[in-house]
Subunit: 231 residues, 3 copies
């Protein structure tokens, strides 16, 4: 398949929307849950839902020059985010009881975002390697902003295979693209790998090696924090 057909082009355009909205919903729930746990007011819950659901995609769109970003140009994104925020705020006990399922949904959302992010970057003519990285950014950006807004170190920076799963999935999408596979096949392969890695990480505690600074250099060592950062 040298030149994409019209149908292929259509899929390339529609697929990101479907994946994006699904991912937005589950990520928005994760943002709203963090907000509830920090006793924010209902507006704060909606903001964190929107931030967690859309910051990754907005960052990607700004970086590839797709302005205004989908999350601004298309009302569906804020609608889906607001819905997730309200559900979480008013039915927190339910959402919380379903927490383990949310964790699986979140893995699905990550897979959706990683695939959609890579597809969209490719579509905008970004170099394949950067497209894979932008797929990862799409997947992790929302969670990072969510954590920064409640003044915590983003969980993804020390969590079990979270970003790596996104990067692996996005890389498969990009490779499949270079091999001229159908974008739907690329999405299934890449999304599947991302979900599988995340599944194994949650189930078996897979994680990446952690930095082990000499004890007295660690940031949690008493009274060293603001010294010798070296800027």
């Amino acid at each position: 398949m040298e030149q994409p057909t019209e149908a292929t082009r259509a899929v390339l355009h529609v697929l990101p929307l479907v994946l994006d909205l699904g991912g937005t919903f589950v990520f928005a729930i994760s943002g709203a849950m963090v907000a509830v746990r920090h006793r924010l007011d209902i507006f704060g819950v909606l903001v964190l839902a929107f931030a967690a659901g859309n910051a990754g995609g907005i960052t990607r769109d700004l970086l590839i020059g797709a302005v205004p970003p989908s999350a601004i140009a298309d009302l569906k994104y804020s609608g889906v985010s607001a819905l997730a925020g309200l559900l979480t705020f008013y039915w927190y006990p339910v959402t919380h009881r379903l927490r383990r399922d949310v964790q699986w949904l979140d893995a699905v959302g990550l897979a959706f975002f990683a695939v959609a992010g890579a597809e969209k970057a490719l579509l905008h003519g970004i170099h394949p390697i950067m497209a894979a990285l932008l797929g990862m950014v799409t997947g992790i950006g929302g969670g990072m902003l969510r954590d920064v807004l409640v003044s915590e170190i983003p969980a993804v920076l020390r969590a079990d295979l979270y970003a790596l799963a996104a990067l692996a999935g996005a890389s498969v999408v990009v490779s499949a693209h270079l091999l001229h596979l159908h974008p739907m096949v690329a999405a299934l392969l890449g999304g599947g790998l991302c979900f599988a890695l995340r599944f194994m990480a949650i189930r078996y505690g897979w994680h990446l090696p952690t930095a082990q600074p000499p004890q007295e250099e660690a940031a949690d060592a008493p009274r060293r924090r603001h010294h010798d950062e070296g800027n």
Copy 2:
């Protein structure tokens, strides 16, 4: 009035500038006051003044594709911010004694920003609902970055009717636009509502309902913070 006249167009272009600069000044003072309270150096005070005064508008401009953002293209914004920062740094006791008045000025600034943000988004062809949200973003973005930079959870995420006042004001501007009212009328109505809501919130402690997580789920419960965030 089907088609805007030349005069109306002129107002549409000039109004945001006037409102923006006024809002920038009072927001920059709020940023500088937070910086002083955290014992930053004079440069840190100027950075927080600029951030609080301009981050909302810069975010709006990046999102609607108005690049370079006004705060970069037009020197007046940095000038006004620097002035506010220097005044606060060298006359902190005075600024601080006027704190209650600053609170009212801040309400005026919020009204200015909400109106200016919504007008500018409409002018760039953004959907009316998103234009209202972008008016709100213009109003709250600066305060959010200010708080993130001093490692605190943004006050707006749990404060009394702050963002809601901005959203209400911006929504009135957008509705007035859809009803083909004169933009000056829209600005007065929207800005007035925003200020009135903020006034009531400050005076009578109006606030939004706050999330009440089960005690052991709250982020301030001992030693739970970095577990089970679920990413």
Copy 3:
């Protein structure tokens, strides 16, 4: 020299790349060292290396409308950042023993970034005064994001002459440009001043005056933090 020659134009285009990549490398090392000290996993180390090395330039590029930013369009930036991150992760004791040298390298990186940032902004037709400020933003943006991501107040907001050195260097570049000096001369003068100021600040503890709020107003006074911020 009224019109720049072809050779001058070439230098104007190549110089920022060389300076940017050098600055990216040393800043990425500073980001990775902070990550190691916070016991992030290897992915977190790579993210902080990329953030510290590239956030300043990406911010500048988004603000001047140079999209996609160099750090996205050009693989060399992520490559250099990843290299710095891996070196720091696997040879932390070595990197750490070389800490004093890294401090000097960091001063060189700051000089590179300040010069490159100002040159690129001028090249995009930004007003000279804003171009100087954008040179400074290029120099300090990475370190600010690095610190925000580990939930600390950016060191640059209270550090010894860090941002001022960048601003001074960038201002010299801009002034030299207005005087029609050769861009290479501008780079040497501006970069030299930036490095010299930073050198003096490190060696002799030069610093800016710090805000001295009345004791009971300081953010570190017990139990005052979340009150009366005035939004």
